[in-house]
């Protein structure tokens, strides 16, 4: 048997590239973000020009209607996306898992393809679909006798327009997660329920949904992480407009840092986003753990 020491040496050698890079490019920057957020500092001056201001950046951003709007918009974008994604992924997943017709795996592939495409391309394609005059969506609305919409140009609809194509792009991915969860449910439960005379709806409500809770919470965690950082469509399509209706945190952070050079202020916003993420993920993890306790 080989000595423990040699194995420890190999552990260190094999871990160091991965963990070293994560330390330098993720851990150090998050600590620096917190540190810079307590300073006034222009992006364009050397780091020596940093000036300690305590919590002034935080006081300033929480008094800024633009930032508060970006915060609300980000939460709305994440919340609305999840509101669509969870039921749709559940419905598609159950359909693809239980359906009895041929072509299910082809449909899974088709559903998944949008997830492979650059979000920037998705945003541009959808902006043409939404085009009030030249786009097919208003044309289709016209066919069924509904009123044409301004979509991305409308204060009321701009945000939901972004949500719609996010759902379109990502629902296939979440559907695959749901299908994976469904395969874990023992078939015997359903057989027993059938013997007891339970109908389809009862089986879904009393077997599928409770046993899929972990999967659905996982879907929510991933969806939260993915949606609170939305940037590409806002940058390329709306620049936060109209009238700030689609201004989101990541865009506000990017603008503060790279257009106005306000590194301290941008970092305080970034840190707020970080805290939101930590809290959201912690809540869901707690639900997951509570779940394990009851099983």
């Amino acid at each position: 048997m080989r000595s423990r020491k040699i194995e420890h040496a190999w552990s260190a050698i094999m871990l160091s590239p991965g963990l070293g890079l994560i330390l330098i490019f993720i851990v150090v920057p998050i600590v620096l973000t917190a540190w810079i957020s307590l300073h006034q500092w222009s992006m364009y001056t050397p780091i020596r020009g940093m000036h300690f201001v305590g919590l002034a950046n935080y006081r300033s951003i929480f008094g800024d209607p633009g930032f508060l709007q970006a915060l609300r918009n980000t939460l709305a974008y994440a919340g609305l996306s999840i509101l669509f994604i969870v039921p749709l992924a559940l419905a598609f997943g159950m359909f693809l898992f239980q359906g009895t017709v041929a072509g299910k795996s082809a449909l899974r592939t088709v559903l998944f393809i949008p997830y492979m495409i650059p979000t920037l391309a998705v945003a541009i394609i959808w902006s043409y679909l939404y085009s009030p005059l030249y786009g097919p969506l208003n044309q289709i609305l016209g066919w069924v006798g509904l009123q044409r919409q301004a979509w991305l140009g409308s204060i009321d609809l701009a945000m939901i327009s972004l949500v719609i194509f996010n759902v379109w792009q990502t629902v296939g991915y979440y559907t695959v997660l749901v299908i994976a969860g469904l395969t874990q449910i023992p078939i015997a439960y359903y057989e027993a329920a059938v013997i007891d005379g339970a109908g389809t709806l009862q089986r879904v409500a009393h077997i599928t949904l409770p046993l899929l809770r972990r999967t659905l919470l996982f879907v929510v965690v991933i969806a939260v992480i993915n949606t609170v950082q939305v940037f590409d469509p806002v940058y390329v399509l709306t620049q936060g407009g109209p009238a700030g209706a689609t201004n989101v945190l990541s865009y506000q952070i990017y603008k503060s840092a790279f257009e106005y050079g306000l590194a301290g202020r941008a970092s305080s916003m970034a840190f707020v986003l970080f805290v939101i993420l930590v809290v959201a993920v912690a809540i869901v993890m707690r639900l997951l753990r509570a779940d394990e306790g009851t099983e």
């Binding site: 991965g18 920057p29 009895t100 650059p118 541009i124 379109w168 994976a180 940037f231």
Partner: protein
């Protein structure tokens, strides 16, 4: 044998159920594909057709001239190459660092291993926007602004890859590794010659994940890259939109979009089996 939630399955589905399912499938499939159809159809339209209201769904005189135009407007071939280098290089780095770290977390025993692994996993939740300001200054201080390495270096290790590899390596039997040790193989040799060949499906999944993610990436390349000849395809697409905002140039933008999605679609169609089972793995064993 697929399981069914309905008891009806044993008798075979009745025709009405089958018809309904086919209808639902067609509706879902059409909604998923329509935007892509519109992209392709628009790239083939003429300027007149693009300016028609209501819109023309399929060109009467399909032309590829917009595709040629993309390469006249921008050094798009060079951008394509840049994307291949950046996404490809990052992917190779991720696969190597993930296999090594994943192996240690799966098969080596040392104090604090669980804690260290949890800390690594925690970094999975950090979006780049949160790190952007210090990360940019860090890369700048290394003199890597506007370079391939500047885009790639911060992404060469990630928690997701390490997690995925650990999950799969944990499934490799310990007996296999112990037997190799008794035969005198070094840890390095065991990892690359015994363990890695068993990971082929997992590596395929990680390759698709990493390549697609970094091919599609926008925010970080936008921050680091400055000159046209260093731009990735996605940055080129952004440039194309700002050059050609008029409706009659939609075909050029859509031609650029079509080119930008091709490598990912091809990669996905070739490796989708491993990829989808890899994703399913993250959901069920997490």
């Amino acid at each position: 044998m697929k399981l069914s939630l309905g008891a009806r399955r044993r008798r075979g589905p009745d025709p009405a159920t089958t018809a309904l399912q086919v209808l639902v499938m067609l509706i879902i499939g059409a909604s998923a594909l329509f935007p892509l159809f519109w992209m392709l159809a628009s790239s083939l339209k003429t300027a007149q057709e693009l300016q028609a209201a209501p819109p023309v769904w399929w060109s009467h005189h399909p032309t590829l001239s917009a595709f040629a135009n993309v390469f006249r407007q921008l050094p798009f071939a060079r951008m394509f190459l840049n994307s291949v280098v950046i996404a490809g290089g990052t992917t190779v780095g991720i696969v190597l660092t993930s296999i090594m770290a994943g192996y240690v977390f799966a098969k080596h025993r040392f104090r604090g291993r669980g804690l260290l692994f949890s800390l690594v996993l925690a970094t999975m939740f950090l979006p780049p926007i949160v790190l952007l300001v210090p990360l940019y200054r860090l890369v700048q201080s290394m003199g890597l602004v506007d370079s391939y390495l500047g885009v790639m270096l911060p992404n060469i290790a990630n928690a997701f890859g390490i997690f995925l590899m650990r999950q799969f390596i944990a499934g490799v039997p310990d007996e296999l590794i112990d037997a190799a040790r008794i035969d005198g193989a070094s840890e390095w040799g065991i990892l690359w010659r015994i363990v890695t060949p068993l990971l082929r499906p997992a590596i395929a999944a990680l390759v698709v994940f990493a390549f697609v993610f970094h091919w599609n990436s926008f925010l970080w390349p936008l921050t680091v890259l400055q000159s046209d000849h260093m731009f990735t395809v996605v940055l080129g697409l952004n440039r194309l939109v700002s050059y050609t905002s008029a409706v009659r140039f939609q075909n050029v933008v859509m031609a650029g979009a079509t080119i930008s999605i091709l490598p990912n679609i091809v990669l996905f169609l070739f490796l989708q089996r491993s990829f989808i089972s890899g994703i399913a793995h993250t959901g069920t064993k997490g």
